[in-house]
Subunit: 539 residues, 2 copies
């Protein structure tokens, strides 16, 4: 039981075998039951812990996953260990897309694009610095292990991949808007960068870097970045155009919702198909969809999509953390490592220190350079901000796990060292998520006691609602609509990015919105497409 | 790529192999892309064809599936035939649950329960009659084929399984409420019946039926029916209780939505786990959730769940029909059959005739018996209704396909006859869906020209909205709320089912609603949990 379309289409022979084996199906149903029941438990627990000061849903899910893993391990007498091996595909094909799409859909667009240059600097140069330091450190410290240079570079890439999912959970877009857009935006670019880095490790001989290889590398990155972004934007625009032209709401709300979800997923899968950065694609698709498509659909579709995307993302996040928790008990790997606990702890500690140093080595210098280009004092990234950015990006998560399994699951000859690397990755992921993640909220409260409206002074501070923390992030109509607000006038004159924003707004109103719809540009609705039941509820 | 949680947990060895094989992943991504793109195409086509008189989304999807299958077959030179083999698991674990749950969630509860006895009669006795006639006919006509008695009984069960999905698409709950509840309700019970039949075929020696076996059979069915229903009701009540007690809306809308979806899915999977009729379970879970849970959640969650369930169901339906269409070109099986086209056509035609006879043999007599028990003329099932019920239940769909693949995919010795049975099933499914399905709408228009409010005279005829045909089915507040309406008073005195309804309502108000919530029994909401954006839209 439990076969997905792609797989089904591929392995027909295996499939027909499986249809006849109803006994194996049964244990698969058991695991699905377990997973769904645990997800329910996570949701209820998360709700109950909501008021706790240390609230962090990911940690709850991780803890539940770890407990369940232990229980399974104990009840089966340590046999069913490999039942719980991390699946790269499950993660990249099904769990990650809704999370990143929702992030794009609900990101504060204006703030994101205003900090675009800083985000790009952190994401590209920062990731490279971090990658370099971790690889260099690993090469020198782990010299005795039987792994080659390619593996050390892979270690650099694995531990440079920030966990955007965890960042989203720990940093609140309302409470710490600048930090959120910087750290999360960096995570997006970081992903594109790691795709390029991985390809580069496989294709180039990185031990002899010369200027041509470096240029090719930069060209590769730019190409990948532009193609991925364009694909996402095109997919978003296409969905807006289709829904606006054909006026879907006339017949059925469900078609609109289905089309939005399917088009977004399609953009992700097409990007995967062409080995682009699917994360970047679906992120920009989400931004475009929230800017155009969302305004073209009926009222009930708007409420539905907004909440559905948030729910999907929420469930996927919970699932990932639970899964990582359950998966951490890969007992066969741990057994290999068991005989040399000192080495195991040593490797993990060294990696954690390298991560700390690697991140510090780019956050502080790059913030300094970024501050040099800013004119107003309110524009600059203060030291307390720098420390928080450094800290909030330390978590490593499912992406690192997936990359580690990809790199270190090979032929048996290197089995022992591969096992070391995988258990170390698991340790680093668990430690960073649990400890660093746990401490981030208190740290933010200590370092940034007041609501940080320093940099984005022109935007009104939105009253924080206790009710729907996850959803308030959706675009604030007033802030996006009018670039001429009194306090913003000074900024237009002083800031080039605001000028860009001004011309973009003019272009958007003159060319884009008439074609693709968007706020105020949707056709007149003759009959309210909301059904009587809905209306009844709202009036 | 593309592994689901259940599977992942099972085949870890296979998984690690797969992680390293990135080339096979790529073709899997291609098929996923193809599927999602085709789904988008189906939705757009379905929208464009909406105004057509012959509109039937399932036929569009089936046609697109067939075309794509042909194109793939031609482009790959007939090689990739087995890429498209029907997956029982994909269907039963992922596609069917949302469809049936949504049907339960949006069913008109009062009308369904008023016709409960007739539905049960059709579903149990009717399915048995149909099963008997088709099996008997097959045994006598197909005597020459090398298949044993068990197979003939399986043929009876396969072709007695009505296609609830197609029924839902062809019959409109608004236009033909009585027909919809009868035919669809029958389909629900029919499913429970076929599970029991299949178990019976495997466990008992049905060639020598005696009274003890018959009693055991009846006992089995009752046990299965009651257990499945109870499980569904308990799951629904549990979700209502949790959401009401813990007051989820206080913190997050997403948790409510996620919990409802997960609990419903969990009820389905638990039923699968204990070999109950999962369809029946999730159907009753949907009914209970729409009666209690739905009223306990926040306003935005109500809109979201209603539309999300409808969208999920819609996408799953489209997917199934497209998949059946693509799958129909199982070229290896067709090659075997190719040499004897006469026999192939013969088998399919005989099966179709048997289906027609088998259904006629129970619809008309059972309607007659049902009419004997009814007092008022308005209560009876007229001849035009009987003909429509007969016709609307003729379609065979994905359930028949799944059962046929399950039964006729065995060792190679019987390969030829098995291939015959599978191609015949495909032919019957395609023919019945395309031809019978195509003709149902016109037939309904000819046989029942006026809005058929004959039997449910007490319910006000709800104005038909053009906008959201799929969603209007949700419970009509007035009809459910008050059993004392003037025209209904006479019916309470004359009809036992209305008396049952009256006492149920009293019990519901006194015991159930105070505990589990429901309309009018939800706690006072101090702050509207809808976020400002939502409110802005509705006022």
């Amino acid at each position: 039981m439990g076969i997905d379309p792609g797989r089904v289409l591929l392995n027909a022979t295996e499939l027909t075998e499986e249809v006849s084996m109803s006994s194996s199906n049964h244990s698969s149903v058991v695991s699905l039951n377990l997973f769904v029941a645990l997800l329910c438990a996570c949701i209820v627990m998360g709700h109950l812990l909501e008021e706790s000061r240390w609230k962090n849903e990911s940690i709850t899910a991780l803890a539940i996953g770890l407990c369940t893993g232990t229980i399974i391990l104990v009840t089966t007498g340590g046999k069913s260990s490999r039942l719980l091996v991390f699946s790269e595909d499950l993660f990249f094909i099904y769990l990650l897309p809704p999370i990143i799409f929702n992030a794009g859909f609900q990101v504060k667009k204006k703030r994101f694009f205003r900090n675009f240059m800083t985000i790009m600097l952190f994401g590209t140069v920062g990731t490279l610095i971090s990658f370099g330091i971790i690889s260099y450190g690993a090469i020198h410290i782990f010299r005795r292990m039987k792994i080659d240079v390619g593996d050390f570079l892979a270690i650099g890439a694995i531990f440079s991949a920030t966990d955007s999912v965890c960042t989203l959970q720990v940093l609140n877009q309302e409470e710490t808007p600048l930090l959120h857009s910087l750290v999360f935006g960096e995570g997006m670019v970081n992903d594109a960068m790691s795709v390029v880095l991985f390809n580069a490790i496989q294709r180039f001989d990185l031990t002899n870097i010369n200027s041509i290889i470096a240029l090719e590398f930069i060209g590769n990155f730019l190409c990948l970045f532009i193609l991925s972004t364009t694909l996402g934007i095109l997919a978003g625009l296409l969905s807006a155009f289709i829904i606006k032209k054909l006026y879907f709401g006339r017949h059925s709300t469900d078609r609109e919702v289905a089309l939005m979800i399917l088009m977004a997923y399609l953009s992700y899968m097409v990007a995967e198909l062409f080995h682009l950065s699917a994360i970047l694609t679906v992120f920009f698709c989400g931004i475009v969809m929230s800017h155009y498509t969302w305004h073209n659909v009926t009222e009930s579709s708007r409420v539905t999509t907004k909440h559905t995307f948030a729910t999907l993302s929420f469930v996927a996040e919970t699932f990932i953390f639970m899964y990582v928790g359950m998966d951490a008990l890969d007992i066969e790997k741990w057994r290999i490592v068991k005989n040399s606990p000192g080495k195991s702890i040593g490797v993990s500690s060294i990696l954690l220190v390298l991560i700390l140093i690697g991140r510090a080595a780019f956050v502080f210098p790059l913030s300094f350079f970024s501050n040099l280009t800013k004119h107003g004092k309110s524009e600059r990234i203060g030291l307390n901000y720098q420390v928080t950015i450094w800290w909030a990006g330390l978590m490593r998560g499912a992406v690192s796990m997936a990359l580690a399994y990809n790199q270190f699951t090979r032929s048996n000859e290197k089995f022992r060292d591969d096992a070391f690397m995988i258990t170390s990755t698991i340790t680093v992921v668990l430690f960073s998520t649990l400890v660093f993640g746990f401490l981030t909220k208190p740290l933010v409260k200590i370092l940034l006691p007041s609501p940080p409206n320093v940099l984005v002074a022109s935007e009104p501070s939105i009253p924080k609602s206790v009710m729907e923390p996850l959803l308030l992030g959706i675009d604030d109509p007033e802030a996006d609509q009018d670039p001429y607000r009194p306090s913003g006038l000074r900024m237009i004159l002083s800031m080039p990015s605001n000028t860009v924003h001004y011309y973009w707004r003019k272009f958007d109103d003159a060319v884009m919105r008439p074609v693709f719809g968007g706020r105020g540009f949707v056709p007149f609705v003759p009959i309210s497409p909301t059904d009587p039941d809905d209306v009844h509820q709202w009036h």
